[in-house]
Symmetry: D2
Subunit: 479 residues, 4 copies
């Protein structure tokens, strides 16, 4: 989640690259339901939004740059939907730079030998360049630089097979992380990579089925959560109901740990674990690992708050709202001049003197990526009268880039990859700086649910231990 749509104000967070939603619901207003779901998934991508709707005969598409509410005014919802509409898929995207050549927004809708298809994808293929090359040699053309177009072309190559079989073949071809929705004029298919890196869950609303990146999308529609899609599973939803195919058996689970640390909405439940509780547990764990003689515990809003509350509950040091967030940050933001640059963070956060004055402050944030804003916040707290500022991070140092769909910096920009903790502490000007241990975070999260053990998470960004082979480190425009 980037914070409240401040896109131009560089905030020091990793960026999720997509969210997907699919509805199979003859007789329902599927476009409106998809709109509601995309809205709930907005934190997974704020740069573009798109929706494809099938009415049994045709697929209609609308996509554009902007927030869901901007891209889909009431009128657009009405235009996409008719009385025969029965399936819809939606996509929100955080797009990296350089994608101006051709719009990479999703879903992609295309015609092939068997009719029309729409595809939406969250994740990143690690062998996309290779596959693209193979396809081009035999005459494929590409209008985008997305992995999704590679998937689309593979599906077309297997057009002699049934769509289910084609998807199974595609799953063998592609490597990497993916939660993919495929829609025909009247069916929805979903699949999740065999490692289960990116989340995907299933819900129900009356007789309609929903596939969504996170369970909060189900709540927003008033739908009931059924279960998570399993790694390597393909589900087919059509008039015959729901069919499950176990396409590939995973060697191991590798759920993205950053979904729990930062990306997912706190009210989502992913693979059996309630995200907010996991975050609070990280705070509790932090209190066990690091004892600070402080007067108050504060969180950096919004993502540091749950861990701060956990720390407070475990340590008994009172939780205080020491940083106030401005709730009205618009999307286009003036570039502060040199004189005003130190003010930039103040537009977003305000340190509350009345809360921190004369106090030894324990400040908790969920992560440090480049280290560009923590120092400014520490400085603000001191100016507001804090006697001491101790920074605690509720996750381990990020030292390796992600190739599975997250926009971390390149390695040399990751501050923890190039500096010692003491150097970072000095840089941000804190009285002390502590990170949570990898063992600590794994235990803290795994204890919150029954399905996943400590070994079932991808922690490559901390450890460099990549569960899925990466042949294409340059990366295409993943999602």
């Amino acid at each position: 989640m980037s914070i409240d749509g401040i896109h131009d104000l560089p905030w020091d967070k990793m960026e999720e690259e997509c969210g997907v939603i699919g509805i199979y619901g003859p007789g329902k207003e599927v476009a409106r339901l998809a709109y509601f779901g995309m809205h709930a998934l907005q934190h997974r991508g704020q740069e573009s939004a798109g929706m494809a709707v099938g009415d049994g005969q045709e697929i209609s598409l609308h996509k554009a740059m902007g927030l869901v509410t901007e891209v889909f005014p009431e009128k657009k919802i009405g235009e996409l939907q008719n009385e025969k509409s029965q399936v819809a898929i939606g996509h929100v995207r955080y797009s990296t730079t350089g994608s101006s050549l051709v719009s990479n927004a999703q879903p992609l809708v295309f015609r092939y030998a068997k009719g029309m298809l729409a595809v939406a994808h969250n994740g990143n293929l690690t062998n996309a360049a290779e596959l693209r090359q193979d396809l081009a040699v035999t005459g494929a053309v590409f209008q985008t630089t997305t992995d999704t177009e590679v998937i689309v072309n593979l599906l077309a190559r297997y057009s002699q097979s049934s769509l289910e079989e084609a998807l199974m073949k595609v799953m063998i071809d592609i490597k990497g992380s993916y939660s993919i929705l495929v829609m025909t004029e009247d069916r929805i298919l979903g699949m999740r990579d065999p490692y289960g890196v990116r989340p995907l869950c299933l819900g129900r609303l009356d007789n309609a089925y929903i596939l969504a990146s996170e369970s909060c999308a189900l709540d927003t529609m008033g739908a009931t959560f059924i279960r998570d899609i399993e790694p390597g599973e393909i589900v087919v939803i059509d008039k015959k109901g729901l069919t499950s195919l176990k396409a590939l058996t995973p060697l191991r689970r590798a759920s993205c740990i950053f979904e729990y640390i930062y990306f997912a909405r706190p009210d989502s439940v992913i693979d059996g674990i309630w995200v907010n509780l996991a975050r609070r547990a990280m705070g509790r764990q932090l209190a066990q690992e690091v004892q600070i003689d402080g007067d108050i515990v504060i969180g950096v809003p919004d993502s540091g708050t749950a861990a701060a509350i956990g720390y407070s509950l475990e340590s008994g040091i009172p939780f205080e709202e020491g940083l106030m967030k401005n709730r009205y940050i618009g999307r286009t933001f003036i570039q502060p001049t040199q004189e005003m640059r130190s003010q930039a963070v103040r537009l977003k956060l305000n340190a509350i003197s009345k809360a921190v004055e004369g106090k030894r402050v324990i400040m908790i944030d969920d992560s440090i990526v480049r280290g560009t804003t923590s120092g400014k916040i520490v400085q603000m707290l001191r100016q507001a009268g804090a006697k001491e500022v101790h920074m605690l991070v509720s996750s381990p140092p990020i030292t390796y880039p992600c190739y599975y769909g997250i926009d971390t910096a390149v390695r040399k920009e990751l501050i923890a990859a190039v500096k010692t903790i003491e150097e970072i502490r000095e840089l941000i000007g804190a009285d002390s700086l502590h990170y949570l241990t990898e063992e600590g975070i794994l235990n803290a999260i795994a204890e919150q649910g029954e399905g996943l053990t400590c070994k079932d998470f991808c922690t490559a960004c901390f450890s460099g231990d990549y569960p899925i082979e990466v042949t294409d480190k340059q990366g295409s425009s993943c999602c």
Copy 2:
């Protein structure tokens, strides 16, 4: 404060009508500072924004409908400001309907016998119609329906006097609530009504002076809070420095109690009282007045959170985040159809099953105006599994409309004016419903500071006891 810019989704809150900011800062980038300040005051009005900048010779103006960041892209800031710019005033406004005739956005800039003036106003005159009538008879014309234009014409009538004297005469003419900023090409004057209804404070940044509706605007600029402007005081800021005139002595203080309950930003300090602490104290007081046998305490985000924490601290019942707010609500919002209407609140809030399931929930909100959303939230909590839902309101029932600058509903729309508490409880479907007493809230707030006693607040909306005579109940477009 409306909540996160949901303008089309009717939220059940009173609406503040304006915020003002003024900078006297030769050698500073006054337009940019005003922009920062307006940004911090955005919660006081999201419909229009305007800024006037004086460079010693001319006043430049830009104003438009929209959020501060929309109305003032970087380019506009640059255009308003030149190397001689020395004074700036800004205004944010929540505009009531029906103002399409002529834009009522502020500041108003006009030429009169002595040059140019810009005026920005927060509050509402209670004898505006009368004054307007008097002025019209002698040839005045009005292009807006704002009180501000009345003030402008009065100033022009007194153009033979010095501006200080003219303002003193105007203060004698006008009745009601007001914090007014007046700017010439090179000076800034501020005045606050003799009852001190609306807030206005003074700050300093190096050699620059700032006047602002709330202290949070000073923080955002990195300025230091000096003091609140006193009721009935006029301050003049120019190259001779700051001069204070005590124009009118108030019969009594009448600080708007709703600034503390809901309007002001939690990190502001108004007339010596830290708003967040006041809210927490209301929660504590509520815990003393109303004991509920509950399992968890939750707040309706964002405005009910502080009171909920206070209630938890006092009662010992754990505070929990039971309602999750979607941080990405855009400004234009689709109208849900009948089928989807019950979903509307879900787009904004999500009840977290994992938090409330099987629990006896104490839900705290700061106020109920029309009673349109509380019932939906209670219902959501029950659907999420709450065993009991008790609603506690951290202020007394609103039974009278405000004539001092707040957009309450007309009296018959105020639910507490037409229904008993038991009827309201039934309507919203809560297991119990309790309001804070008037005595309780007054004590809770007054104890947080030294300047104000229980008798120094305007509580007309609870008691019908209007401290300032109201001759014009129809109301012009106040601010």
Copy 3:
């Protein structure tokens, strides 16, 4: 008329500053009729458009920068109009630079002692500064820099009189050129200055009356032309029908000669003279005054075409379309770089080789103001193969600025004021250059109608003989 909306491409023409339209039509869709009329008057001003509609009780207003079709989409027309709407006035404006301080768009709508009034004005007061000063001393405030606001304030000063009497008093106060429409909630009044500088005519459509700057607006609505409003006349249109007041008797007529030369639409009939015929007569006169041994006659589109046809008919030299105009010039236009600057005129005009190759070309334009484009057109014709290019201008040299509502350049920018004809010829690179004589043009125009004689035109821009005293040469924002 600027040419086809090329605003950023500086075209060498004088600029008309406004057009007005008024409808009295209970039971008619008055807003839509006004829209049609403004559309027909678009050539008189393309920078802003505005319309005020009265329904017997209230006046609604909409105005904005842009073309009529941009400012008034269907939805706006519908919003302005209700089933009780009975009067409407519209205004199109060419605004000079520097008016960004406060929008000077018209109509101005205001409230005064007697209710609401809307005012629209075409022309320029020559004593506006003086009047503004007088009003300010007694407390008037001004939010625009337009003459119209001066008129508005004068009307308010006379609010104890009937509106008819107030207008008669105002006519005594103000000096200059004006066609003014005044609208109450249910009446329309029109007045034309005693010299009759700017045009104003009356038409009828069933039981509705229309006042318009030019008769082409009547045609567009399907209305019938009745007569021109007389100089110094006030007409009152209300439920009692049409009443005429002869307020002031003119010392002399002074119809603006440039309406016939360039401003008015060719299909309009002004004070009894059909504009297109007048232009053709100028061409015929030119052929009598200047014989050139040419092969073809061409006009600079569009305004030079009628004179070119006249020249051809009189001289017997064939008329040819030697310059092709691009009909799709948009309103925002890229600034050509230095390398491309010579191309700028080509975007607008193309010299047709097939027509001019090897020919001795007689090129006719209606006027030369600064002399910035004629040279480029001559050059294009030579590049296209013209053997000789003779430039003939169907009006005398412009040597004095206009103070009656036309945006000529200041005197030193008028090329004919600072250079001899031979110097101009050399500058534009023509083989010869000839202007029509003042006597010639006066005769040519006067002969086309019965109402006006050679002495009845304002020719100040040629002769410096200003018929109306000019006390305010700096000029306010006239219209």
Copy 4:
């Protein structure tokens, strides 16, 4: 050419579907030159505009709905172009309805096995559906419904050949009308179908080569016309200069006769014939075929004017401007209500009473398609006082639809296909109605140049004699 951008006001004309421009110009500002050229070709398509620019390594693209000046503000031109830019192609498009699924704007830019390609196309393939089917079977996917994407996929299939050879193979595959530009990162190739239906010409500006749909684009850039591309010719322009390949020899020429009647800009020269002269010749021919005892000849602006002048010159009956066109029709246009519907044509045209009153009017238009507006114009002329109105059409009756890139109505909407001339005359209310004969028009045009004889034109829309086989009458989105 639609008339002056009135898109919502249904005008009774056939619609051209595209224009293309290509520049090979290392060291030139190729994007700006392309912009100038697209601007000159704007009449060939006003719905969307697009441009691709190659800098030797990459191809940049920008395209959007709107006029050239709207889609390409100065900033965009700058962004598309860098100091290494050397090739550019541009495209303007008139898009038929129903293309909202995926944007069909051009150029299409894609990556294939050999790098990047951009393709722009004017015309229509008559076997597109068949080719699309063949491609899909072997795995091709389609994101648009344009013929252009079919061409793109064919090129990719032949990626093992050189691009010249691939184009030759494509020319064998595709049937129909086409002028196609293909651009790599540093080369431009152009090809024209073997029948030469759609125009394409070659020009030079210093050391740069230009390919353009019409010669007027060359004029606008200041470039020199070299020659028309021949039917069946492929030209390759790169650092080695210009190479010509004669790929296919045509069975016959079939130049689209409607380019001469209506589509092309009057100042263009196509296949050796100056369009304006051809139109005037049609008027002369009409005068020989049809003698009317009239007082004046008028043209329906703008497209009927040239023929009207021709008729006047041949018949001796004076030409008069009897219909005035409003030059300020914006692009978005209010829908007139029933009451106002008869006014719709008046917004665009005004019949000039002074010109037509009491006259027997001969009114000339270039064509009648559906017959929806002619009647309204005749009625306007009668209301303006015309004694008689004779309508003459400077082309034969349109009785068959076009499959070669023109948006005629379907056959049953073509008025001349379903009604006799006498029935049409009665419908439009003219005193008489006459069309030019097919023999007459062919002679009139062919006589204006040396290259083309009477047999070299496509007259399918008059005769139903289609020179190129049409297998796909449903049509994809042609251009």
